[in-house]
């Protein structure tokens, strides 16, 4: 597997140096692995912190900026960051109005963020966590670690970020984040696995004619293997899974997200199928994203995230944002 790296052990540090050089709007602490807004916290504003393993770019560092995150903590590739990072980020963004932790529902993320929140509380910073668990591929039951946090993370960060930017209090920002999570569902399909730099070979093997349904974002296998099929059928399988869990109705925000290795021409093709499906169910897509927003290294595939909008959510989505990965309204 050919990769554009210097050495497996320095991938994250080297990439963070690139992020720092490319984006003066960000303050990148490479040693401690924390990315914050270069301008510092906004007095009286709730601080938004998220984080997770590296390898999902632009999530989360690419979403640090006005109208979205105040800090992102990148871990090693596909590995949750450590409490030290989240604690440093939390203290850096504390502007007197408390801090929201946006936590994707993976055991590691949850445990590390939990530890950090306890340490922050010891230091007098009020932290409220919100867990994102929008993936319909995993059953939320006693028999699993619960539903994974995937595409809705982007929606939560944008919409809660917009509310925080308006000066709303922590409880309201947390409630909004939880509402976005509750109104969102996701499902993904992979055509290939991906290769972690230090592992040197793909995490799992998919034959030429095979796809994996119900994938996560860490290169792990999904719900089941299936034969490759035309995009219309794959899109229908994805939308069927979402619709079965939370019926499509009303105004929707839809993201057709590339897993990292799929070209934009294919993502738009998939979006066409998704759009037809949604219209066929009598719902309307009023806002959308098509592109790479929450990736899994070079995995080929796509995920769809659907959020049932309200007027309030729609307005917050439209609110100005200025980050490396999302920029509008200014």
């Amino acid at each position: 597997m050919k990769k554009l790296i210097n050495a497996p052990d320095s991938v994250v540090a080297d990439a963070l140096a690139g992020v720092a050089a490319a984006h003066p709007s960000l303050a990148v602490d490479i040693e401690n692995k924390v990315i914050t807004r270069a301008g510092g916290p906004t007095p009286g504003k709730v601080g938004l912190v998220s984080g997770g393993g590296s390898g999902h770019e632009p999530l989360h560092g690419g979403f640090v900026g006005l109208g979205m995150l105040d800090a992102a903590c990148p871990g090693e590739v596909f590995t949750s960051p450590v409490p030290d990072q989240m604690l440093a980020a939390t203290k850096a963004v504390d502007a007197g109005a408390g801090v929201l932790h946006i936590v994707k529902n993976y055991t590691g993320d949850v445990l590390n963020f939990q530890m950090a929140a306890e340490l922050a509380a010891d230091d007098g910073v009020e932290v409220t966590p919100v867990v994102v668990n929008d993936d319909v591929a995993v059953q939320d039951s006693l028999y699993t670690a619960g539903r994974r946090g995937v595409g809705a993370t982007v929606f939560v960060e944008k919409i809660a970020g917009a509310l925080a930017e308006r000066g709303a209090p922590l409880a309201d920002v947390a409630a909004m984040a939880a509402e976005v999570n509750e109104r969102s569902r996701s499902f993904g399909v992979a055509l290939t696995s991906c290769t972690i730099p230090a592992a040197g070979k793909p995490t799992f093997e998919l034959g030429d004619g095979e796809i994996e349904l119900g994938i996560g974002i860490h290169g792990e296998p999904g719900r089941r293997r299936a034969p490759l099929a035309p995009a219309a059928e794959l899109a229908a399988a994805v939308m069927d899974a979402i619709h079965a869990d939370q019926p499509l109705a009303g105004d929707l925000l839809v993201m057709v997200n590339g897993m990292g290795g799929t070209p934009l021409i294919e993502l738009y093709l998939v979006y066409n199928e998704v759009h037809k499906y949604v219209t066929g169910k009598g719902a309307r897509i009023t806002r959308n994203l098509v592109g790479n927003y929450i990736t899994s290294l070079e995995m080929q595939g796509f995920s769809v995230t659907v959020c049932r909008l309200t007027d309030a959510l729609g307005q917050l989505w439209d609110a100005p944002v200025d980050t490396p990965a999302l920029r509008w309204g200014r």
């Binding site: 393993g53 871990g75 090693e76 590739v77 596909f78 590995t79 949750s80 960051p81 450590v82 409490p83 030290d84 993976y106 055991t107 590691g108 445990l111 590390n112 530890m115 591929a137 995993v138 059953q139 006693l142 028999y143 699993t144 670690a145 994974r148 972690i196 230090a198 592992a199 995490t203 799992f204 996560g216 860490h218 290169g219 792990e220 296998p221 999904g222 719900r223």
Partner: protein, 211 residues
């Protein structure tokens, strides 16, 4: 067993994890995201470095420092869980300059309790608990029967190894492997495998020091 013994144990654990790093990664590729070997090697490498840099006058302080280092360096679920295990064990050993076999057994029981409290895993859910719990039981049984140290620690290590093997037929109910449901069956749990390595290192260090 003095602080030097426990430092040797941690160093041996680091060596074991480093030498088995690809194997652990492979196990984690089958039912996870292929980073367990890399993460554990990095974490225990940092433990060795920390033990060289900081003074650890007691067995408890060795394990507490190791646990804190793992929390700061490993990430994922393994960092907090292994970190909690070692910190709980270190706390149980207190300030004593020496630990006998009974104290060690008590420390490992505390480690198990700490892991189960944090991760909420019970036996049979295909996790590190499936290596640690049988090991703790085997050690307790050996002590109750009056088995001398080397026999008791052999029983501990063997039970951990057997426990890790037993995870092969289990369906994962915790962690990333649980997303696979029935597809997780037929694969050894990487956390149980690494736990067996760490407890095996404990037995090895004791055996090397035996008169």
């Amino acid at each position: 067993m003095d602080a030097a013994f426990f430092r040797d144990w941690m160093t041996a654990a680091a060596a074991a994890v480093e030498s088995q790093r690809d194997h652990l990664t492979q196990l984690d590729a089958a039912i996870g995201d292929a980073d367990h070997g890399i993460n554990m090697a990095r974490g225990f490498g940092a433990v060795t470095a920390a033990l060289e840099q900081k003074g650890t006058p007691t067995p408890g302080s060795v394990l507490t420092l190791a646990g804190s280092t793992l929390i700061s360096k490993v990430g994922g679920a393994s960092g907090p869980l292994y970190g909690m295990a070692l910190r709980s064990a270190g706390k149980a050993l207190g300030e004593a300059p020496d630990a006998d076999l009974h104290a060690l057994a008590g420390a490992l029981e505390a480690a198990l309790a700490g892991v189960q409290k944090l991760g909420a895993a019970r036996e049979g859910e295909k996790t590190m608990v499936d290596a640690l719990a049988p090991a703790v039981s085997a050690l307790a049984k050996a002590l109750a029967e009056g088995t001398p140290a080397d026999g008791a620690l052999s029983a501990l290590a063997a039970a951990a190894l057997d426990g890790a093997q037993a995870t092969i037929s289990m369906q994962a109910l915790k962690g990333r492997a649980s997303y696979l449901g029935p597809r997780s069956v037929g694969h050894e749990d990487p956390g149980a495998a690494s736990m067996a390595l760490i407890l095996g290192a404990l037995r090895d260090v004791a055996a090397q020091r035996a008169p």
